[in-house]
């Protein structure tokens, strides 16, 4: 090998790959992420793609992007502003360039900058000369170079052109000193049956890497050293994968099979896909004819003694509400997962939002309380799912898990837990016929017994009609109804006894506390930690339990002068906190289908700290 170019060490980088939805940007980003994970960096990703499978080529509507932020220190977000934008065409440039850090690098496929493509992206002239004032612009004839690299393999020109994402990946791997071997292994196995495509993609990848070393466009390459993470064995994980694995883990730890009834819906479908791969764990998955059948089948499975679960997103969640009301009424365990997306209605299916909190709490008819949990990071999705199943069974109640589109697809390094340290909760059904009553309640939890078909002597009937205390017989007695409504509410309220004390990030009292829930945790804590480093008095609390709220939350909030609640909705948690605690909560809202930027939260923190406050 010839003398290598110099390598410059940096402590963090954010790269965004952007192209047409058919350009393979999600794949490129994912493979780069895997390589980066193996180097041992901390990382955070933000896949951002359109709902259309193949929007018209070259249009702004069809742009698909993948951002990865990686560092030699602990990081919490995919970064507000990428340092590098790899744009496969003018539309990808136009849709993303405003986000790039000033002075950052734009790598563009100059072959795609044809008059037609420029026009389609809405550019009258070539934008690159003007952009050179603000950015370091690197033009690469990506299509030409790729075609040349794979020329001898015998790919047709269109197929050759489609390998260009691997050329790009090879080049960026060189630029940031990431190994290409994991990707090579993946190509080998993915294209096992198609030698030409396998060879073509491998050569494109290698050619991209070699091009970095030989071209004069890049005088140096960069290296981000390994991050000092907590010791342990790590893997990369996305939120939806962690949710699926959480279901399987719950089944193992509770010693009952999972039954997942679901109907495909973005961005929840991959949970169904993932769980379906693990039939050898005894899990049963059922793709139902609709959202209602999905939840109904899961409730039926719970009734029969399985760990029933259903997974959906907002529009599907509302379709399930009547059946969830039944689950509340008959007091059967169930986990209902809602991977929230931008709405209402079909909204923006691939974009994130947190606006289903109130419909989850209050969306059913009558008094129909349901515990609600929200994971805050991709890895946390695993533990939240475990806990949801545990609470569902312990309290004999449906439990809602509110994830979101950002967590669903975002990846982070995840320290794999030692299975032995996870608490086991083997399920014990009621089998003793002596003194059995279907609605006799546990003194501590108020849970009714779980008595499943097949158990001699426990034959009984349950249903959506109001049940008489103890017997479960149909009852229209006014006092009985009043008692049952209150018992169902009290049962859910008592879950608060199981919750850990509120954790405060930072001092547990002072000028300002930022309260969040769900996938905004990374951005909130990054903003709070930065502000505190710069001398601002600010702490944060992140809520995993939205119903019931932790018993000590009021006291924790009252130790601060100001409470700020940033949310990706129009203020749903802040409304809840005001109603519960009569506190003057301030709200920071955003509904763009995108996660918070750290700077957005930071700005509001500083405004409050400076004496301002409400908008």
């Amino acid at each position: 090998m010839a003398a290598r170019k110099p390598v410059e060490e940096v402590d963090q980088v954010a790269i965004r790959f952007a192209g047409d939805s058919g350009d393979g940007m999600q794949l490129t980003g994912t493979k780069f992420t895997e390589a980066t994970a193996l180097v041992g960096n901390d990382l955070s990703t933000l896949p951002d793609f359109p709902a259309e499978i193949r929007a018209p080529a070259g249009t702004l509507a069809g742009v698909s992007a993948f951002q990865i932020h990686f560092a030699s220190r602990d990081i919490r977000t995919p970064a507000d502003h990428p340092d590098v934008l790899f744009a496969m065409n003018p539309a990808a440039l136009r849709a993303n360039v405003d986000d790039v850090r000033r002075g950052g690098m734009l790598i563009v496929n100059s072959d795609a900058f044809t008059p037609r493509n420029l026009k389609q992206a809405g550019y009258d002239d070539d934008p690159l000369p003007a952009l050179q004032e603000r950015f370091q612009v690197v033009e690469i004839q990506l299509s030409t170079l790729t075609r040349k690299a794979v020329e001898s393999v015998g790919l047709r020109s269109r197929e050759a052109e489609r390998s260009k994402n691997f050329f790009a990946l090879g080049l960026v791997c060189w630029l940031y000193n990431r190994p290409t071997e994991p990707t090579e292994r993946w190509i080998e196995s993915r294209f096992k049956k198609n030698e030409t495509l396998r060879e073509g993609n491998l050569r494109a990848l290698q050619a991209g890497h070699a091009y970095g070393e030989t071209t004069e466009l890049f005088p140096v390459s960069f290296f981000v050293p390994r991050a000092k993470l907590e010791p342990g064995v790590y893997r990369n994980i996305t939120g939806n994968q962690a949710l699926a694995w959480g279901m399987i883990a719950a089944s193992e730890l509770m010693e009952r099979p999972v039954f997942l009834g679901a109907y495909p819906i973005t961005p929840a479908s991959s949970v169904l896909h993932e769980v379906s791969r693990y039939r050898h764990f005894g899990v049963k998955t059922f793709q139902a004819e609709d959202e209602i059948a999905a939840v109904a089948s899961a409730i039926g499975a719970s009734y029969a003694g399985m760990l029933g679960a259903t997974a959906t997103s907002g529009p599907g969640f509302v379709l399930k509400q009547e059946a969830l009301g039944l689950a509340v009424m008959v007091e059967l365990p169930l986990v209902v997962l809602n991977v929230q997306r931008a709405g209402p209605s079909t909204g923006m299916p691939t974009k994130t939002e947190q606006a289903d909190l109130l419909v989850t709490l209050y969306g059913r008819s009558s008094e129909s309380p349901m515990p609600v949990l929200a994971p805050s990071t991709p890895g946390d999705c695993f533990y939240t799912m475990l806990e949801a199943f545990h609470l569902a069974v312990k309290y004999m109640t449906p439990v809602a898990v509110l994830s979101d589109g950002y967590l669903a697809n975002a990846a982070e390094p995840w320290r794999i837990p030692d299975v032995e340290t996870l608490s086991r909760h083997p399920i014990r059904f009621r089998t003793d016929a002596k003194g059995f009553a279907p609605y006799a309640r546990d003194a501590e939890t108020l849970a009714r017994p779980w008595a499943i078909p097949g158990t001699p002597g426990l034959e009984h009937r349950i249903g959506g009609l109001e049940s008489e205390e103890l017997t479960g017989n149909v009852s229209y007695d006014p006092r009985n109804h009043d008692r049952m409504v209150r018992q169902r509410a009290e049962k859910v309220a008592r879950i608060a006894n199981d919750l850990p004390p509120v954790e405060v990030n930072g001092p547990d009292g002072g000028k300002l506390v930022v309260v969040g829930w769900g996938g905004t945790r990374g951005a909130i804590e990054a903003a709070v930690d930065e502000a505190r480093r710069d001398g601002t008095s600010v702490s944060s609390i992140h809520l995993r339990y939205l119903n019931p709220l932790p018993a000590d939350l009021r006291a924790a909030l009252e130790r601060f002068e100001h409470v700020l609640v940033p949310e990706l909705n129009l203020g749903q948690l802040s409304r809840l906190l005001r109603a519960e605690y009569l506190l003057p909560v301030e709200s920071l809202t955003k509904v763009e289908g995108q996660p918070f930027r750290v700077e957005e939260i930071r700005g509001r923190i500083e405004a409050i700290a400076a004496g301002g406050g409400s908008e």
Binding site: I248, R279, H280
Partner: protein, 342 residues
């Protein structure tokens, strides 16, 4: 496995709840026949689950001393799907009506039948909404005057048997609420069928649609109005002196007259066969309706096909055989991992 217990009786299958259907409701007879049949089938009581939706018929589970689940409107087949898929060893019966099963729940009925889970689905067809006080249902006759159709219904009615056959039913049968012997026979056949057994039970609603099926319920008119269909037997009906048969030509059924001593088969009368692979014959038979034809009662179709829960269970077992029983640690550490040293 439960030890062989003393033989149960009808009483063992009666719950302690007062039955609250209207006096004269056809549901009473269906309930009694089910309670009578259950001990005959010899299934342990604890292995029986009745699942229902909403409507008069859907109160059925409350009165059976078995496991029972009264769910939400139209979705009983979906709850039953979850139960049967989870626990294939249970005997799962769905009780529904023409409104619950064919209106709000039409989609679930369709998909449950086509998946061929080993369920018994009993659809009590009284051609009216009872519990909501008399509106027309998807099986009501055209022109029916009800509170919601004061000038007559303009909805063309749906035939439950043709719906089931169109959904790919492997078993479809029809019986009558007050014909104890026939009803028990059909219910037994439904139980014995390994797959979804769809049974339409013609049922009288004395309050909102009285005598809708009187022609086939009344002993005097039954011979004229009902066509008993029996596997291997020709399709003949009518009293002595007015015997008739059904001939099917080019898929189109027609009534022909038969002398009392005539050989029906030689005269071209169709011989009933439940086991045609094609549902076309059963569909033609199911299209027979009053007043031009008698109403066929009996088993229209009974063919065997693997069940959904059986195929799923097999996939689980094959996966375990091929990959070994899943272990959580191996799952969590599968694929690319890296170690951060202390």
């Amino acid at each position: 496995m439960t030890a062989p217990a003393a033989k149960l009786t009808k009483k063992d299958f009666e719950s302690d709840q007062d039955v609250r259907w209207c006096p004269g409701c056809g549901d009473y007879s269906i309930l009694a026949n089910m309670q009578r049949l259950m001990p005959e089938l010899g299934i342990p009581r604890e292995d029986v689950v009745f699942v229902s939706g909403i409507g008069c018929s859907s109160r059925f589970p409350y009165y059976m001393n078995t496991y029972g689940f009264h769910t939400i409107h139209g979705r009983a087949p979906s709850f039953a799907t979850g139960i049967k898929t989870s626990r294939p060893e249970l005997s799962v019966w769905v009780v529904t009506g023409d409104g619950d099963g064919l209106s709000i729940g039409g989609n679930h009925l369709l998909h449950t039948i086509r998946r061929n889970l080993d369920l018994q689905i009993l659809l009590f067809n009284n051609r009216v909404y009872g519990l909501t006080k008399g509106q027309y249902s998807p099986t009501s006759r055209l022109d029916m005057v009800t509170p919601s159709t004061p000038t007559g219904s303009i909805d063309y009615p749906l035939d439950p048997i043709r719906f089931a056959l169109g959904s790919g039913a492997t078993f479809a049968a029809r019986s009558i609420d007050n014909d104890a012997r026939h009803l028990q026979q059909v219910l037994r056949r439904a139980y014995e069928h390994p797959g979804t057994a769809f049974v339409e039970i013609l049922q009288n609603c004395p309050v909102y649609n009285d005598d809708e099926w009187i022609e086939v319920e009344d002993r005097k008119t039954k011979l004229e109005a009902a066509l008993p269909i029996v596997d291997g037997e020709p399709l003949v009906f009518g009293p002595k002196g007015a015997r008739r048969g059904i001939r099917i030509e080019n898929g189109v059924p027609a009534v022909i007259s038969l002398a009392d001593d005539a050989d029906a088969v030689a005269e071209g009368v169709a011989v009933h066969n439940e086991r045609h692979e094609s549902p076309a014959y059963a569909f033609a038979l199911a299209s027979l309706a009053r007043p031009d034809f008698p109403i066929p009662v009996g088993v229209f179709r009974a063919v065997e096909r693997p069940t959904y829960e059986g195929l799923l269970q097999e996939q689980v077992e094959v996966a375990i055989r091929q990959r070994g029983r899943g272990a959580l640690h191996s799952l969590l550490t599968s694929g690319d991992t890296w170690t951060v040293e202390a």
